[in-house]
């Protein structure tokens, strides 16, 4: 992680926020563009789950993280509060790791 990343992302994030609010103002974007922009979180966040759960040095690995994230998914599907989902994910991963279930 570097200051370049921090500052460049700050500039980019503010650029997007201000463009919509100040520059573009009340104008409308085409419907298809709006619909695609709305879907960015769904597509990217699900990829982030895959990447940070299964991503390893040499491709895909199944380790203790997968067990913890599976627990988090179960709880999230049962509408558990955010803090419970995060803490359970971390705790189950730690336990699985300590038990030597997966590296």
């Amino acid at each position: 992680m570097s200051w370049t990343l921090v500052l460049a992302l700050s500039a980019i994030a503010y650029f997007f926020k201000a463009t919509g609010l100040v520059v573009v103002g009340g104008r409308h974007l085409p419907g298809a563009v709006n619909r695609c922009l709305d879907l960015i979180p769904a597509a990217l966040v699900s990829a982030l789950i895959v990447n940070s759960t299964l991503g390893g040095d040499d491709g895909i690995v199944f380790d203790a993280r997968a067990i913890g994230v599976a627990a988090a998914m179960l709880l999230a599907a049962k509408r558990a509060p955010l803090v419970v989902v995060i803490m359970a994910g971390a705790a189950v991963t730690a336990l699985a790791r300590a038990a030597g279930l997966a590296a």
Binding site: M1, I40, V45, S52, L82
Partner: protein
């Protein structure tokens, strides 16, 4: 007349209260971000400055988790920028509600995020919409940054892997993606994104599979 007025004040108080509670809940995510960011090699200062200046959670989580998985700065910026692009849409949605001076809109821009937009657009009266936007934005800003600081301090004091904190990011992402799965197009985009990422992880440099997942948004091209 007085009754209407006191009802309005009553409603406004309860609205402000919900905005503050929402902000406090987001503070938990802030703690998770702080912990994860120092675990990914960020200093406490970098971590806190990122929350103060970038201030859009999904982008921050994305950037740091790409770095944590060994990705380059460019790959981290790519995915994070795509996620930040949706704040532009929120700005468009809020532009009718926030018609103050250019200065006040430049300030409002920094707090134009998921939560403030969602709370504001849920109100029927323009006045309540403005109240909801500012109170939610400011309360999320305060709690997000407070949470980040707490998380960064705690994360640098312990061994993150021993406590399973490397799984805190994906667990947080799981909680974040749930609301997007309520609509069929959201579920399709999520499935395509996850598969595109999994298929490309073995072949592409770390972080780049996240960008490939963007192909999932194309399900939005067709009118539902």
């Amino acid at each position: 007349m007085t009754e209407t007025l006191s009802n309005t004040n009553e409603n406004e108080r309860s609205l402000v209260m919900s905005c503050a509670v929402l902000g406090a809940a987001v503070g938990v995510f802030g703690i998770a971000f702080g912990v994860g960011s120092v675990a990914a090699g960020g200093s406490i200062a970098m971590t806190c400055v990122m929350s103060l200046l970038v201030f859009t959670g999904a982008s921050q989580f994305s950037a740091v988790s790409v770095i944590a998985s060994g990705g380059s700065t460019a790959a981290a910026l790519g995915g994070a920028s795509l996620l930040a692009a949706r704040n532009g849409v929120y700005g468009l949605a809020m532009s009718r509600t926030l018609q103050g001076s250019v200065f006040s809109r430049l300030v409002a821009a920094q707090i134009t995020i998921d939560e403030s937009t969602a709370m504001s657009t849920a109100q029927t009266h323009p006045r309540a919409a403005r109240t909801a936007f500012w109170w939610t934005g400011v309360s999320v800003y305060v709690f997000w940054n407070l949470g980040t600081l707490i998380g960064a301090l705690a994360g640098s004091a312990i061994d993150p892997e021993q406590f399973g904190l490397d799984a805190a990011f994906p667990a947080g992402f799981v909680a974040m993606v749930i609301p997007h799965l309520r609509h069929q197009n959201g579920r399709r985009a999520a499935a395509i994104g996850a598969v595109a990422c999994a298929l490309t992880i073995p072949f592409l440099p770390p972080g780049v599979p996240i960008l490939c997942a963007a192909v999932g948004v194309l399900v939005g091209v067709k009118r539902p």
